[in-house]
Symmetry: C2
Subunit: 453 residues, 2 copies
């Protein structure tokens, strides 16, 4: 039976519609027995490592994924040039309490936020004032003048979808410096975006307001945020020393990396599936987002290994610069429009290589209903939530070109342990969870290339 | 509103039926913000450690959980005596290839299986013959005579529920020695029950056939199983040295530990919720089954912290000796019958402290339909599979007394990395996953004590 099917696949024009369950089973079985995703991720993490936009490692990751897709014999593999910001951390970040009556001098675990302008080599010292998120700052207002603002809003632990807790608190990280600067603050400390109390600082993007001074902005670990907050309750004139050597070095040339298998029946209808190749400059960018990149490549590789030819064109895309600029996602959409390409779906995996439980999406009622109608194909694999609102950062710019935007939706309990930290390494990824995600994406791509959406 | 509800709970006879969603939300919120499960598990794992039946640590775990439940002010806390087998490993286990033409002498990562009778201090040497599971042995039959049988059937990686893969392969571990001994084998090596290729040996129970010699039975890591298999393909006269100092020391007195909150309306209807307190004698028994025990205690603690009084009696049970005898589960059922107790439900968590995705159950059509009808209460917490067949080992003996048997059903991708190994330690447990499991069990107990089943 298996052999017969295989022969059928090689005959052009034979519909597989009646065999969706069986073909999806073939996808999962192949991935769980002979998948490449995990070993490819190992190489990306261990032999290249972290890869912030503009870094040598980002260039290595471009070349690695290009060669990898070439080696798999995809129909086309090419680089799409894109200018990206080149920020460098420049050295060890420091946050230090300098005048605690109780503890004296206390070093805190710190990481400058991305795109932060450094303090210069001598650092700066200032009195600390604690606020709960951006709302707290607005209440403090002029009280921030001359101070170091300490944003200490925790992620809400009662949100089962931890991305909702992240969304609820991340404003203080993204805009904390810009907003505090308006009131004359001289620096910013931000509680790490984590739902655990531990010693690991989490970096992440922040954006200045060009009309106000670019003050330094550093994250401290949740454990140290609790400590600092406790000490402030007893001693309100607590002073902190900040040092960061962050520097924005302008724009450099980088690339989106694209591999494609042309459709046999409707080659002009494109299904893009991808992740972002850049990562922060700590750890190995394993969950964020090496996992998504390797899963996307695996989608096309599975087609090659099974000898399947898709009706519509399927394209793996490694977007560059999701973390601190989104230039890759924007350029990809711009070029697609310029070329008159027709994307019918864009799928992104950028929520970590964890257990897949569904797909999030943004699209028309009809597109989203069609997606939801495929639920029974996925429940045998414990993937059951096909109606989550969402999508992905890199595919967002494609929205006005009409494709449904879909995000792989894994369980999120463990994501914010690792997100943007030195702990986001290969060993933090479970092989089976990663593979189930790759297979889920492949099954979804399969249904879309067969049935349209 | 919260305060009003709180007052209502204290008034006897007020039904909460209309507030199930809200009360379940209170359970999850409490557990995710101020749960004790994780810190209690830390103590059990780090301050007591592994706790094989009959060991000093098992006695310590009995006393710890007794004191813990006392400290929470449950209505009744007591020990239920039970005689348990006392097996000791006795020393370092060894499996060594002694005559490889290619590699010479090779030490393999090994752990004697539980209840194994040792080789004596000088060990034994024999030729190895590889088979695929018990079927392979039956095909080999007399060919096993005088040999060391090497069972090398892997777990099937295509099973998304890895317990199914375990069930498919574990016969060779449980009965491998007994069956091989019938054909005159002198010892047994078993591939570890793991779905990863790594260097960690997994122990587990095995049972001798009293009519045949008690031959030694040792597990080797999956990596070493692959190596041994590869070497055997090139050299069929490969010899292996086995050494184990395992010894069964008869029966000793131990206890099930029981804590109870009496029902206000139907105190004679009992809902038991528990895990097993014993573990294997390596690692810390964190997932197996410290997690389940601490979750069960948390169910009752949440009632105390919320100031709730259940309509029916709820009882946390730490069963002793699930791993190598099931004496605790059997004794619990025997005493319940003797006392004429009426269990309406027995719930066990013994599939690890991982992300809960549902409940498995065994019961009447009516009981199982009622359970399934509560699905919408759980889906907000991503718990959605309420119709999985199953239950739990310790609650099995209660079956003929009529309660529905229910197992917490977590995702199983990572369970067999840790199961019965030195790696099953506290650090392998994720706090949020563990807490979601505790909250899920509490919500289920809540629905049953309110609505019956």
């Amino acid at each position: 039976m298996k052999k017969l099917l295989f022969v059928l696949f090689l005959l052009p024009g034979i519909s597989l519609a009646q065999n969706h369950e069986e073909n999806i089973q073939s996808i999962f079985n192949l991935e769980l027995t002979k998948g490449h995703t995990y070993e490819n991720l190992r190489y990306l993490c261990k032999d290249i490592g972290h890869r912030l936009s503009g870094s040598p490692q980002a260039a290595a990751a471009v070349e690695y994924t290009r060669q990898l897709m070439e080696s798999y014999g995809f129909d086309t593999v090419y680089l799409q040039p894109v200018m990206v910001p080149h920020w460098v951390r420049g050295g060890k970040d420091e946050v230090k309490i300098v005048n605690s009556e109780k503890l004296g001098t206390v070093d805190l675990q710190a990481l400058a936020l991305g795109n932060t302008q450094g303090t210069g080599p001598s650092g700066l010292v200032g009195e600390v004032v604690e606020v709960q998120g951006l709302e707290g700052l607005r209440a403090l207002a002029e009280g921030a003048k001359g101070k170091i603002v300490f944003y200490n809003q925790p992620m809400d632990p009662t949100k089962v979808n931890t991305f909702q807790a992240y969304s609820g608190a991340v404003g203080q990280r993204g805009s904390g410096a810009a907003e505090a600067s308006k009131y004359g603050a001289i620096g910013v400390i931000v509680r790490s975006m984590s739902n655990r109390i531990d010693h690991i600082p989490h970096t992440g993007n922040q954006r200045y307001n060009p009309d106000f001074p670019e003050i330094p902005s550093l994250a401290i670990s949740t454990q140290d945020a609790e400590l600092l907050s406790d000490l402030l309750k007893e001693q309100s004139d607590l002073k902190v020393f900040l040092k960061s050597q962050g520097e924005m070095r302008g724009q450099v040339l980088s690339y989106n990396v694209i591999g494609e298998i042309r459709g046999t029946e409707r080659p002009d209808e494109i299904i893009a599936v991808g992740g972002h190749l850049d990562s922060w400059d700590v750890g190995e960018g394993a969950h964020d987002d090496g996992a998504g990149c390797m899963q996307a490549i695996e989608v096309l590789r599975i087609y090659k290994e099974l000898g399947w030819k898709p009706k519509r064109t399927i394209r793996a895309v490694m977007w560059m610069n999701e973390e601190n600029g989104l230039m890759g996602g924007r350029e990809y959409a711009r070029v697609a429009k310029e070329k008159g390409e027709k994307h019918i779906a864009a799928i992104e995996s950028d929520s970590g290589g964890f257990l897949p439980i569904g797909f999030s999406s943004t699209g028309t009622e009809s597109q989203r209903s069609k997606l939801a109608s495929w639920r029974d194909y996925f429940t045998p694999y414990n993937i059951w939530k096909l109606d989550v609102p969402g999508g992905g950062a890199d595919i967002g710019p494609l929205r006005d070109q009409g494709p449904i935007l879909i995000g792989l939706h894994p369980d999120s309990q463990r994501y914010f342990i690792y997100h943007h930290t030195a702990a986001d390494v290969f060993e933090a990824v479970d092989q089976r969870e990663l593979e189930l995600g790759a297979a889920a994406m492949t099954a979804l791509v399969y249904l879309i290339e067969q049935e349209g959406i």
